[in-house]
Protein backbone atom coordinates (compact mmCIF):
# COMPACT_ATOMS: atom_id res chain seq x y z
CA UNK A 1 0.00 0.00 0.00
CA UNK A 2 3.06 2.21 0.05
CA UNK A 3 2.44 3.50 -3.43
CA UNK A 4 -0.83 4.91 -2.23
CA UNK A 5 0.74 7.06 0.42
CA UNK A 6 3.76 8.10 -1.63
CA UNK A 7 1.85 8.97 -4.70
CA UNK A 8 1.61 12.68 -4.19
CA UNK A 9 0.26 15.14 -4.96
CA UNK A 10 -2.94 13.53 -6.22
CA UNK A 11 -3.44 11.79 -2.88
CA UNK A 12 -2.57 14.80 -0.83
CA UNK A 13 -6.14 16.02 -0.65
CA UNK A 14 -7.21 12.65 0.62
CA UNK A 15 -4.77 12.76 3.49
CA UNK A 16 -5.50 16.33 4.27
CA UNK A 17 -9.15 15.34 4.38
CA UNK A 18 -8.15 12.73 6.93
CA UNK A 19 -6.71 15.31 9.26
CA UNK A 20 -9.14 16.18 12.08
CA UNK A 21 -7.57 19.63 12.39
CA UNK A 22 -8.15 20.44 8.72
CA UNK A 23 -11.72 19.18 8.99
CA UNK A 24 -12.36 21.26 12.09
CA UNK A 25 -11.07 24.44 10.50
CA UNK A 26 -12.74 23.98 7.12
CA UNK A 27 -16.14 23.03 8.49
CA UNK A 28 -15.84 25.98 10.86
CA UNK A 29 -15.75 28.23 7.82
CA UNK A 30 -18.61 26.44 6.07
CA UNK A 31 -20.95 26.05 9.03
CA UNK A 32 -22.40 29.59 9.21
CA UNK A 33 -23.37 29.53 5.53
CA UNK A 34 -24.64 25.99 5.60
CA UNK A 35 -26.72 26.64 8.72
CA UNK A 36 -28.19 29.73 7.14
CA UNK A 37 -29.06 27.79 3.99
CA UNK A 38 -30.64 24.97 6.00
CA UNK A 39 -32.65 27.42 8.07
CA UNK A 40 -33.84 29.29 4.98
CA UNK A 41 -34.83 26.12 3.11
CA UNK A 42 -36.55 24.53 6.10
CA UNK A 43 -38.55 27.59 7.06
CA UNK A 44 -39.55 28.29 3.45
CA UNK A 45 -40.55 24.67 2.88
CA UNK A 46 -42.44 24.43 6.14
CA UNK A 47 -44.43 27.64 5.68
CA UNK A 48 -45.10 26.74 2.05
CA UNK A 49 -46.11 23.19 2.88
CA UNK A 50 -48.20 23.95 5.94
CA UNK A 51 -49.86 27.13 4.77
CA UNK A 52 -49.80 27.48 1.00
CA UNK A 53 -49.79 24.04 -0.58
CA UNK A 54 -53.31 22.93 -1.56
CA UNK A 55 -54.84 20.27 0.63
CA UNK A 56 -55.07 16.70 -0.53
CA UNK A 57 -58.40 15.70 -2.06
CA UNK A 58 -58.71 12.50 0.00
CA UNK A 59 -56.65 13.08 3.12
CA UNK A 60 -57.38 16.75 3.70
CA UNK A 61 -54.92 18.68 5.77
CA UNK A 62 -53.35 15.68 7.52
CA UNK A 63 -51.39 15.09 4.34
CA UNK A 64 -49.23 18.10 5.29
CA UNK A 65 -47.27 15.78 7.62
CA UNK A 66 -45.65 14.48 4.43
CA UNK A 67 -43.40 17.56 4.45
CA UNK A 68 -41.67 16.22 7.56
CA UNK A 69 -42.21 12.50 7.16
CA UNK A 70 -40.74 11.96 3.71
CA UNK A 71 -37.56 14.06 4.16
CA UNK A 72 -36.89 12.41 7.53
CA UNK A 73 -37.33 8.94 5.98
CA UNK A 74 -34.99 9.87 3.12
CA UNK A 75 -32.23 11.01 5.43
CA UNK A 76 -32.78 8.11 7.82
CA UNK A 77 -31.91 5.65 5.07
CA UNK A 78 -29.24 7.78 3.40
CA UNK A 79 -27.69 8.33 6.82
CA UNK A 80 -27.17 4.61 7.27
CA UNK A 81 -25.22 4.44 4.03
CA UNK A 82 -23.19 7.51 4.99
CA UNK A 83 -22.37 5.84 8.30
CA UNK A 84 -21.42 2.56 6.64
CA UNK A 85 -19.27 4.23 3.97
CA UNK A 86 -17.47 6.27 6.63
CA UNK A 87 -16.90 3.06 8.57
CA UNK A 88 -15.56 1.28 5.48
CA UNK A 89 -13.13 4.13 4.76
CA UNK A 90 -12.01 3.93 8.37
CA UNK A 91 -11.41 0.17 8.11
CA UNK A 92 -9.59 0.33 4.77
CA UNK A 93 -7.42 3.44 5.21
CA UNK A 94 -7.34 3.39 9.01
CA UNK A 95 -8.47 6.98 8.97
CA UNK A 96 -9.30 8.36 12.42
CA UNK A 97 -11.52 11.14 11.10
CA UNK A 98 -13.62 8.68 9.15
CA UNK A 99 -14.45 6.76 12.32
CA UNK A 100 -15.41 10.00 13.97
CA UNK A 101 -17.84 10.74 11.14
CA UNK A 102 -19.25 7.22 11.45
CA UNK A 103 -19.70 7.57 15.18
CA UNK A 104 -21.44 10.93 14.69
CA UNK A 105 -23.77 9.64 11.98
CA UNK A 106 -25.26 6.98 14.27
CA UNK A 107 -27.20 9.17 16.73
CA UNK A 108 -28.35 11.53 13.96
CA UNK A 109 -29.60 8.64 11.86
CA UNK A 110 -31.34 7.03 14.82
CA UNK A 111 -33.05 10.32 15.70
CA UNK A 112 -34.25 10.84 12.12
CA UNK A 113 -35.48 7.24 11.89
CA UNK A 114 -37.42 7.78 15.10
CA UNK A 115 -38.81 10.98 13.62
CA UNK A 116 -39.89 9.19 10.45
CA UNK A 117 -41.68 6.53 12.51
CA UNK A 118 -43.26 9.08 14.83
CA UNK A 119 -44.57 11.36 12.10
CA UNK A 120 -45.75 8.29 10.19
CA UNK A 121 -47.70 7.06 13.22
CA UNK A 122 -49.32 10.46 13.74
CA UNK A 123 -50.18 10.62 10.07
CA UNK A 124 -51.67 7.14 10.31
CA UNK A 125 -54.29 8.08 12.89
CA UNK A 126 -56.43 10.41 10.72
CA UNK A 127 -55.61 8.48 7.52
CA UNK A 128 -55.96 4.82 8.49
CA UNK A 129 -57.71 5.29 11.81
CA UNK A 130 -54.86 3.78 13.80
CA UNK A 131 -51.43 4.86 14.98
CA UNK A 132 -49.66 1.67 14.10
CA UNK A 133 -50.03 -0.50 11.03
CA UNK A 134 -47.70 -3.35 10.15
CA UNK A 135 -47.25 -1.91 6.70
CA UNK A 136 -44.15 -2.86 4.72
CA UNK A 137 -42.57 0.57 4.85
CA UNK A 138 -43.32 1.08 8.53
CA UNK A 139 -41.89 -2.32 9.40
CA UNK A 140 -38.73 -1.72 7.36
CA UNK A 141 -38.27 1.63 9.07
CA UNK A 142 -38.61 -0.02 12.47
CA UNK A 143 -35.95 -2.58 11.54
CA UNK A 144 -33.72 0.29 10.37
CA UNK A 145 -34.11 1.87 13.81
CA UNK A 146 -33.03 -1.42 15.40
CA UNK A 147 -29.98 -1.52 13.12
CA UNK A 148 -29.01 2.00 14.21
CA UNK A 149 -29.53 1.13 17.88
CA UNK A 150 -27.29 -1.93 17.44
CA UNK A 151 -24.45 0.19 16.05
CA UNK A 152 -24.87 2.74 18.86
CA UNK A 153 -24.97 0.06 21.55
CA UNK A 154 -21.91 -1.71 20.16
CA UNK A 155 -19.98 1.55 19.92
CA UNK A 156 -20.49 2.35 23.59
CA UNK A 157 -19.99 -1.20 24.86
CA UNK A 158 -16.25 -1.15 24.19
CA UNK A 159 -13.87 0.48 26.63
CA UNK A 160 -11.28 0.88 23.93
CA UNK A 161 -12.44 3.49 21.50
CA UNK A 162 -10.58 1.88 18.62
CA UNK A 163 -12.04 -1.60 19.06
CA UNK A 164 -15.49 -0.02 19.35
CA UNK A 165 -14.94 1.88 16.11
CA UNK A 166 -13.84 -1.19 14.20
CA UNK A 167 -16.63 -3.35 15.58
CA UNK A 168 -19.36 -0.87 14.74
CA UNK A 169 -17.87 -0.26 11.28
CA UNK A 170 -18.13 -3.99 10.54
CA UNK A 171 -21.67 -4.12 11.92
CA UNK A 172 -22.66 -1.11 9.80
CA UNK A 173 -21.27 -2.82 6.70
CA UNK A 174 -23.06 -6.08 7.48
CA UNK A 175 -26.22 -4.03 7.95
CA UNK A 176 -25.71 -2.34 4.59
CA UNK A 177 -25.54 -5.70 2.83
CA UNK A 178 -28.70 -6.69 4.67
CA UNK A 179 -30.82 -3.59 4.14
CA UNK A 180 -31.89 -4.45 0.56
CA UNK A 181 -32.60 -8.04 1.63
CA UNK A 182 -34.63 -6.87 4.61
CA UNK A 183 -36.60 -4.37 2.52
CA UNK A 184 -37.37 -6.95 -0.17
CA UNK A 185 -38.35 -9.59 2.39
CA UNK A 186 -40.63 -7.24 4.27
CA UNK A 187 -42.23 -6.14 1.00
CA UNK A 188 -42.88 -9.74 0.05
CA UNK A 189 -44.14 -10.58 3.54
CA UNK A 190 -46.53 -7.67 3.37
CA UNK A 191 -48.05 -8.63 0.02
CA UNK A 192 -48.58 -12.08 1.49
CA UNK A 193 -50.47 -10.80 4.52
CA UNK A 194 -51.98 -7.61 3.18
CA UNK A 195 -55.15 -7.04 5.18
CA UNK A 196 -58.09 -6.21 2.98
CA UNK A 197 -59.51 -3.60 5.32
CA UNK A 198 -56.61 -1.20 5.17
CA UNK A 199 -55.98 0.28 1.80
CA UNK A 200 -52.85 2.34 1.53
CA UNK A 201 -52.71 5.15 -0.90
CA UNK A 202 -49.67 4.14 -2.89
CA UNK A 203 -47.70 7.34 -3.49
CA UNK A 204 -50.39 9.39 -5.17
CA UNK A 205 -49.27 11.27 -8.23
CA UNK A 206 -48.61 14.57 -6.58
CA UNK A 207 -49.63 17.86 -8.01
CA UNK A 208 -46.66 20.10 -8.62
CA UNK A 209 -48.03 22.66 -6.16
CA UNK A 210 -47.69 19.97 -3.51
CA UNK A 211 -44.43 18.58 -4.80
CA UNK A 212 -42.39 21.79 -4.95
CA UNK A 213 -42.47 22.47 -1.20
CA UNK A 214 -41.61 18.82 -0.60
CA UNK A 215 -38.53 19.23 -2.76
CA UNK A 216 -37.54 22.32 -0.77
CA UNK A 217 -37.98 20.38 2.47
CA UNK A 218 -35.88 17.47 1.21
CA UNK A 219 -33.09 19.85 0.24
CA UNK A 220 -33.44 21.57 3.59
CA UNK A 221 -33.16 18.25 5.43
CA UNK A 222 -30.01 17.38 3.48
CA UNK A 223 -28.44 20.69 4.52
CA UNK A 224 -29.63 20.20 8.09
CA UNK A 225 -28.18 16.70 8.15
CA UNK A 226 -24.82 18.01 6.97
CA UNK A 227 -24.83 20.73 9.64
CA UNK A 228 -25.69 18.21 12.36
CA UNK A 229 -23.05 15.75 11.11
CA UNK A 230 -20.41 18.50 11.11
CA UNK A 231 -21.36 19.61 14.61
CA UNK A 232 -21.31 16.08 16.05
CA UNK A 233 -18.00 15.32 14.34
CA UNK A 234 -16.45 18.55 15.60
CA UNK A 235 -17.47 17.72 19.16
CA UNK A 236 -15.97 14.26 18.75
CA UNK A 237 -12.75 15.76 17.36
CA UNK A 238 -12.40 18.06 20.35
CA UNK A 239 -12.95 15.15 22.71
CA UNK A 240 -10.48 12.84 20.98
CA UNK A 241 -7.79 15.44 20.25
CA UNK A 242 -7.89 17.31 23.54
CA UNK A 243 -4.23 16.47 24.23
CA UNK A 244 -3.03 17.91 20.92
CA UNK A 245 -1.36 21.31 20.63
CA UNK A 246 -3.77 22.72 18.09
CA UNK A 247 -6.79 22.13 20.30
CA UNK A 248 -4.98 23.78 23.22
CA UNK A 249 -4.11 26.75 21.04
CA UNK A 250 -7.71 26.91 19.89
CA UNK A 251 -9.00 27.02 23.46
CA UNK A 252 -6.40 29.63 24.51
CA UNK A 253 -7.32 31.69 21.46
CA UNK A 254 -10.98 31.55 22.40
CA UNK A 255 -10.26 32.74 25.93
CA UNK A 256 -8.64 35.98 24.81
Amino acid sequence: MNWLTNWSPSWQWFHRLGSPRWFYQTTGRWLPWLSLLALALLSTGLVWGLGFAPQDAKQGNSFRIIYLHVPASFLALAGYYIMAIAGAIGLIWKMKLSYMVMKSAAPIGAALTFLALFTGAIWGKPTWGTYWVWDARVTSMLILLFLYLGVLALQYAFHSNEAGNRASAILALVGTVNIPIIYKSVDWWYTLHQPATIKLTSAPSMHSDMFQPLLVMILGFYCFYTVALFLFTRAEILRRERKSTWVKELVIGAQH
Binding site: I143, L149, L154, A163, G175, S185, V186
Partner: protein, 223 residues
Amino acid sequence: MASGFSDYLRRDLLLAYRRRGEAASPLVFFIMVSTLIPLGISPESARLAEIASGIIWVMALLATLLSTDGLFASDYQDGSLEQLLISPQMLAMPVLGKITAHWMVTGLPLTLASPLLGVMLSLPEEGYVPMVVSLALGTGCLSLIGAVGAALTVSLRKGGLLLSLLVMPLYMPVIIFGSATVQSAIDGFAWSGPLAILGAMLAAAIALCPLAAAGGLRLTSIN
Protein backbone atom coordinates in the same frame (compact mmCIF):
# COMPACT_ATOMS: atom_id res chain seq x y z
CA MET B 1 -7.42 -28.46 1.30
CA ALA B 2 -10.20 -26.99 3.43
CA SER B 3 -7.50 -25.80 5.74
CA GLY B 4 -8.66 -25.87 9.29
CA PHE B 5 -12.32 -26.52 8.50
CA SER B 6 -12.50 -30.16 9.49
CA ASP B 7 -10.01 -29.76 12.36
CA TYR B 8 -12.15 -27.16 14.03
CA LEU B 9 -15.38 -28.94 13.20
CA ARG B 10 -14.11 -32.11 14.88
CA ARG B 11 -12.61 -30.22 17.82
CA ASP B 12 -15.77 -28.26 18.57
CA LEU B 13 -18.00 -31.31 18.24
CA LEU B 14 -15.77 -33.14 20.68
CA LEU B 15 -15.91 -30.22 23.10
CA ALA B 16 -19.68 -30.09 22.80
CA TYR B 17 -19.86 -33.82 23.46
CA ARG B 18 -17.83 -33.37 26.64
CA ARG B 19 -20.22 -30.66 27.82
CA ARG B 20 -23.38 -32.47 26.80
CA GLY B 21 -25.57 -30.84 29.44
CA GLU B 22 -24.68 -27.35 28.33
CA ALA B 23 -25.09 -28.18 24.67
CA ALA B 24 -28.56 -29.60 25.23
CA SER B 25 -29.96 -26.49 26.90
CA PRO B 26 -31.15 -24.72 23.72
CA LEU B 27 -33.13 -27.82 22.83
CA VAL B 28 -34.65 -28.04 26.31
CA PHE B 29 -35.46 -24.32 26.13
CA PHE B 30 -37.13 -24.86 22.75
CA ILE B 31 -39.37 -27.58 24.13
CA MET B 32 -40.12 -25.91 27.46
CA VAL B 33 -41.21 -22.61 25.94
CA SER B 34 -43.64 -24.51 23.77
CA THR B 35 -45.57 -25.51 26.89
CA LEU B 36 -45.94 -21.84 27.73
CA ILE B 37 -47.77 -21.11 24.50
CA PRO B 38 -50.94 -23.13 25.21
CA LEU B 39 -50.88 -21.85 28.80
CA GLY B 40 -50.56 -18.29 27.64
CA ILE B 41 -52.91 -18.34 24.69
CA SER B 42 -55.37 -21.21 24.65
CA PRO B 43 -55.38 -25.00 24.71
CA GLU B 44 -57.85 -25.05 21.82
CA SER B 45 -56.21 -26.91 18.98
CA ALA B 46 -57.88 -24.78 16.31
CA ARG B 47 -56.33 -21.61 17.68
CA LEU B 48 -52.96 -23.23 18.24
CA ALA B 49 -52.90 -24.64 14.72
CA GLU B 50 -53.30 -21.16 13.32
CA ILE B 51 -50.17 -19.81 14.95
CA ALA B 52 -48.09 -22.99 15.31
CA SER B 53 -45.80 -22.38 12.33
CA GLY B 54 -44.88 -18.87 13.41
CA ILE B 55 -44.45 -19.82 17.06
CA ILE B 56 -42.16 -22.74 16.29
CA TRP B 57 -40.02 -20.51 14.09
CA VAL B 58 -39.79 -17.72 16.66
CA MET B 59 -38.80 -20.21 19.34
CA ALA B 60 -36.19 -21.82 17.13
CA LEU B 61 -34.75 -18.36 16.54
CA LEU B 62 -34.62 -17.55 20.26
CA ALA B 63 -33.11 -20.93 21.10
CA THR B 64 -30.35 -20.40 18.53
CA LEU B 65 -29.76 -16.90 19.84
CA LEU B 66 -29.28 -18.27 23.37
CA SER B 67 -26.40 -20.46 22.34
CA THR B 68 -24.70 -18.12 19.84
CA ASP B 69 -23.12 -16.21 22.69
CA GLY B 70 -20.82 -19.15 23.46
CA LEU B 71 -19.60 -19.67 19.91
CA PHE B 72 -16.22 -18.02 20.43
CA ALA B 73 -16.40 -17.25 24.15
CA SER B 74 -14.63 -20.32 25.54
CA ASP B 75 -11.90 -20.07 22.90
CA TYR B 76 -11.42 -16.43 23.80
CA GLN B 77 -11.14 -17.19 27.50
CA ASP B 78 -8.69 -20.07 27.23
CA GLY B 79 -6.48 -18.26 24.73
CA SER B 80 -6.92 -20.69 21.84
CA LEU B 81 -8.63 -17.97 19.82
CA GLU B 82 -5.53 -15.82 20.01
CA GLN B 83 -3.48 -18.75 18.80
CA LEU B 84 -5.84 -19.16 15.87
CA LEU B 85 -5.62 -15.46 15.06
CA ILE B 86 -1.81 -15.42 14.85
CA SER B 87 -1.60 -18.61 12.79
CA PRO B 88 -0.89 -17.95 9.11
CA GLN B 89 -3.88 -19.84 7.70
CA MET B 90 -6.98 -18.16 6.40
CA LEU B 91 -9.22 -17.49 9.36
CA ALA B 92 -12.54 -17.96 7.54
CA MET B 93 -12.21 -21.75 7.17
CA PRO B 94 -11.71 -22.56 10.87
CA VAL B 95 -14.51 -20.12 11.63
CA LEU B 96 -16.80 -21.91 9.18
CA GLY B 97 -15.83 -25.18 10.86
CA LYS B 98 -16.81 -23.80 14.24
CA ILE B 99 -20.10 -22.48 12.88
CA THR B 100 -20.90 -25.84 11.30
CA ALA B 101 -20.24 -27.54 14.62
CA HIS B 102 -22.49 -24.99 16.32
CA TRP B 103 -25.27 -25.73 13.86
CA MET B 104 -24.88 -29.50 14.34
CA VAL B 105 -25.15 -29.03 18.09
CA THR B 106 -28.07 -26.55 18.15
CA GLY B 107 -29.85 -26.10 14.80
CA LEU B 108 -29.90 -29.75 13.82
CA PRO B 109 -31.38 -31.03 17.13
CA LEU B 110 -33.98 -28.26 16.98
CA THR B 111 -34.89 -29.30 13.46
CA LEU B 112 -35.19 -32.92 14.46
CA ALA B 113 -37.25 -32.10 17.54
CA SER B 114 -39.61 -29.74 15.71
CA PRO B 115 -42.16 -32.44 14.68
CA LEU B 116 -42.66 -33.12 18.38
CA LEU B 117 -43.51 -29.46 18.92
CA GLY B 118 -45.71 -29.62 15.86
CA VAL B 119 -47.75 -32.32 17.58
CA MET B 120 -47.91 -30.36 20.84
CA LEU B 121 -49.08 -27.22 19.06
CA SER B 122 -51.43 -29.10 16.68
CA LEU B 123 -49.61 -28.07 13.53
CA PRO B 124 -51.68 -29.17 10.49
CA GLU B 125 -50.30 -32.29 8.81
CA GLU B 126 -49.25 -30.56 5.60
CA GLY B 127 -46.84 -28.42 7.57
CA TYR B 128 -44.46 -31.08 8.92
CA VAL B 129 -42.18 -31.71 5.96
CA PRO B 130 -41.85 -28.00 5.03
CA MET B 131 -41.16 -27.17 8.66
CA VAL B 132 -38.34 -29.67 9.00
CA VAL B 133 -36.77 -28.68 5.68
CA SER B 134 -37.10 -24.94 6.27
CA LEU B 135 -35.75 -25.23 9.80
CA ALA B 136 -32.77 -27.23 8.56
CA LEU B 137 -31.84 -24.46 6.08
CA GLY B 138 -32.97 -21.58 8.27
CA THR B 139 -31.15 -22.53 11.47
CA GLY B 140 -28.02 -22.72 9.32
CA CYS B 141 -28.56 -19.11 8.34
CA LEU B 142 -29.18 -18.18 11.97
CA SER B 143 -25.92 -19.82 13.12
CA LEU B 144 -23.95 -18.09 10.36
CA ILE B 145 -25.41 -14.62 10.97
CA GLY B 146 -25.16 -15.08 14.72
CA ALA B 147 -21.46 -15.89 14.34
CA VAL B 148 -20.80 -12.38 13.02
CA GLY B 149 -22.44 -10.86 16.10
CA ALA B 150 -20.61 -13.30 18.38
CA ALA B 151 -17.30 -12.36 16.77
CA LEU B 152 -17.92 -8.65 17.33
CA THR B 153 -18.85 -9.11 20.98
CA VAL B 154 -16.41 -11.82 22.19
CA SER B 155 -14.10 -9.38 23.87
CA LEU B 156 -16.91 -7.78 25.86
CA ARG B 157 -17.58 -9.10 29.31
CA LYS B 158 -21.34 -8.89 29.01
CA GLY B 159 -21.80 -9.46 25.32
CA GLY B 160 -24.80 -11.77 25.48
CA LEU B 161 -27.64 -9.30 25.57
CA LEU B 162 -25.89 -6.90 23.22
CA LEU B 163 -25.34 -9.75 20.79
CA SER B 164 -29.06 -10.41 20.56
CA LEU B 165 -29.72 -6.71 19.88
CA LEU B 166 -27.20 -6.69 17.05
CA VAL B 167 -28.29 -9.90 15.44
CA MET B 168 -32.06 -9.82 15.77
CA PRO B 169 -32.73 -7.30 12.96
CA LEU B 170 -30.49 -9.35 10.68
CA TYR B 171 -32.55 -12.47 11.46
CA MET B 172 -35.78 -10.97 10.20
CA PRO B 173 -35.61 -12.06 6.54
CA VAL B 174 -34.91 -15.62 7.70
CA ILE B 175 -37.97 -15.79 9.89
CA ILE B 176 -40.15 -14.23 7.20
CA PHE B 177 -39.29 -16.86 4.62
CA GLY B 178 -39.00 -19.70 7.13
CA SER B 179 -42.47 -19.37 8.56
CA ALA B 180 -43.88 -18.47 5.14
CA THR B 181 -42.64 -21.83 3.81
CA VAL B 182 -44.61 -23.67 6.47
CA GLN B 183 -47.64 -21.43 6.22
CA SER B 184 -47.94 -21.70 2.43
CA ALA B 185 -47.86 -25.49 2.69
CA ILE B 186 -50.61 -25.39 5.33
CA ASP B 187 -52.68 -23.04 3.18
CA GLY B 188 -52.31 -25.42 0.26
CA PHE B 189 -49.94 -23.36 -1.88
CA ALA B 190 -46.64 -24.35 -3.41
CA TRP B 191 -43.95 -23.92 -0.77
CA SER B 192 -40.90 -24.32 -2.97
CA GLY B 193 -40.68 -20.56 -3.65
CA PRO B 194 -39.97 -19.27 -0.13
CA LEU B 195 -37.86 -22.36 0.53
CA ALA B 196 -35.71 -21.60 -2.51
CA ILE B 197 -35.15 -18.06 -1.24
CA LEU B 198 -34.21 -19.47 2.16
CA GLY B 199 -31.72 -21.70 0.36
CA ALA B 200 -30.30 -18.72 -1.53
CA MET B 201 -29.92 -16.84 1.75
CA LEU B 202 -28.08 -19.82 3.22
CA ALA B 203 -25.72 -19.93 0.24
CA ALA B 204 -25.00 -16.20 0.50
CA ALA B 205 -24.53 -16.49 4.25
CA ILE B 206 -22.07 -19.38 3.85
CA ALA B 207 -20.04 -17.25 1.45
CA LEU B 208 -20.09 -13.98 3.40
CA CYS B 209 -20.64 -14.59 7.11
CA PRO B 210 -17.43 -16.53 7.86
CA LEU B 211 -15.44 -13.71 6.22
CA ALA B 212 -17.26 -11.04 8.23
CA ALA B 213 -16.90 -13.04 11.43
CA ALA B 214 -13.19 -13.59 10.77
CA GLY B 215 -12.74 -9.86 10.15
CA GLY B 216 -14.64 -9.09 13.33
CA LEU B 217 -12.47 -11.44 15.38
CA ARG B 218 -9.25 -10.01 13.98
CA LEU B 219 -10.19 -6.39 14.40
CA THR B 220 -11.83 -6.40 17.81
CA SER B 221 -10.00 -8.98 19.88
CA ILE B 222 -6.41 -7.93 19.15
CA ASN B 223 -5.46 -4.85 21.03
